[in-house]
Symmetry: C2
Amino acid sequence: MKDGGVFPVLQNDLLLRAARGERVEQVPVWLMRQAGRYLPEFKEVFTAHDFFTICRTPELCCKLTLQPVDRFNLDAAIIFSDILMIPQALGMECVLKAGVGPCFNKPLTSREDVTRLASVSSVSSELECVYEAIRLTRHGLKGKVPLIGFAGAPWTLFCYMIEGAPSKTCAKAKRWLYTDRQLSDELLATLTEAVVEHLVKQVEAGCQMLQVFESNAELLTMEMFRSVSVPILRDIACKVKTRLHDRGLEQVPLSVYAKGAHHSLQVLASLGYDVVSVDWCVDPTIARDFIGCTIQGNLDPCALYAKPEDLSTMTVNMLEKFGVRRLIANLGHGVYPDTEPDNVACFIDTVHSHSKLMMSGEGDTCSLYT
Amino acid sequence: MKDGGVFPVLQNDLLLRAARGERVEQVPVWLMRQAGRYLPEFKEVFTAHDFFTICRTPELCCKLTLQPVDRFNLDAAIIFSDILMIPQALGMECVLKAGVGPCFNKPLTSREDVTRLASVSSVSSELECVYEAIRLTRHGLKGKVPLIGFAGAPWTLFCYMIEGAPSKTCAKAKRWLYTDRQLSDELLATLTEAVVEHLVKQVEAGCQMLQVFESNAELLTMEMFRSVSVPILRDIACKVKTRLHDRGLEQVPLSVYAKGAHHSLQVLASLGYDVVSVDWCVDPTIARDFIGCTIQGNLDPCALYAKPEDLSTMTVNMLEKFGVRRLIANLGHGVYPDTEPDNVACFIDTVHSHSKLMMSGEGDTCSLYT
């Protein structure tokens, strides 16, 4: 079901301007997993419903997406969903086991298992619930901030589908890469097509920016990352743009988050994404040395445990190291469930107030550059 | 009980020479967790006894240490033990839970818990079983290869002692760092003293090289790594050397492995260690750019899943990228339990044969440099 209607006019486009490298009055900020268990209002929904049932219920996804935006002075919303919606749309059953994480009943073990996956062409109809959630949310947001859509990158999905349960090493998935590269490439190609289509459909439904999560980049050697993940990430950016154009949809900024890919920052900045999102182990100064486009990041999620005055200092320090141009402030990973909501507010407010201060200073002394 | 006797004369000192940067005829090679569950003869012992009972039984530690040396053409043995022997010596009870990993019955939660830890002075008497295992092993080795001793670095032990069970984020331990730095520093100081004494005692017992494992470096920001872990690692190297000297013991090469500390390779090379051991996510070329001393590493443990011809190619590629001088070949992490022993042999043999070939080439064309 297409919405057809026009969404409320966007009032805060800081995120989109920063992503495109345009001038902003203050640094935009949002947090990965900002809709999460650290919010009591989230936990209410989370305990009343099964996780993937929530993901398939547009009204609940909309509600959860709006919660942090209602509570905090955020510059973006990100649709509440899960990267494992794609493997599920391909026919794999998945449950969230408490204290363990997402688990597939029948992880992939052979070529036969791969052959049995549903056709990629069915993915977007299977994920209609996500697109409906996006439309509802665009209305619910009333133009307050832009809405981000996302997908897991193929290598990261590949790991989950083969491991079946969270794994620190993903040795089973890596065994596939090292022993049957052809089969691995076939599965990765299927996932790439599914990811591209899912991203485009999210824009069609109303998303104003997209982020690709390669959370398992950290498991690969530099060579493997560059031979397995990089060509696919490049392909995704290229195909999304082409497909948006072909379908008469507006282009949206693209962001890539490759956790642990410290060895390839410059490469990541060259793949066609507007934004490179870095984890907390990348020092801001090093990130700026290698990334020419907009950077998103990267406070240690655990820094939100600190006392507000210490948290402020660390946030200021991060801003000073990154500088305020071409920056989207965020954490270096998702918010942890035991985070104090007041500290999330402190982080957001410090980003806004200090970046404004830095920019006003720029105005006085650096007008020649701006 | 001191051994008193003299150990058999060392026949293969490739490892020690490479560590000191001296000339070698071929690159020495050993593997982290080379005594491990991938060996059927190890599994026999492992299923018959509780893990930490093994660690406290010198004869079994000796047996397990010798197994890979008997089977493969290795250039080093590493005493079979566990980094969690120190927290146990400090009074914390620990069990290895199948499918989970090592778990403490009562993880540290407060200053009171820290105060209740046993005195550091009792650590070396508590760990007499390790020193006895070392003496037995030195005899059992008959001088075939040198014996490496080791300890977990304080930050890594700190994580285990606070988390209580394996954790991907170690958010509880990091909470301590971010909220009570003074208490954290006190605990880290206790652990540092315990680690130093344990390392020195291992040399006194017969170890010919030492490795410090900072496996949880990967959880820290660059700033936190440099403010928390780096001063301690420097302190350990310095104090071990001083104490060896003061007790009339010979100096031994020191190696440091800080998994995930890609941002601080140059810093690591300046801390007083002879060898910097790098994980598989650090590209050899980058490692050489930043590390002036001997490098140890760093094949992806999952590369051992590949067919022997592919494994050989990857091993050759690693050697070519590192170059054969000041190199100790190893994996970038421990051997995984589902590794084929024949592939371990293939890795070892390829290191020897190809490094010899590279060195003979050097002899012809580069005699001016040598």
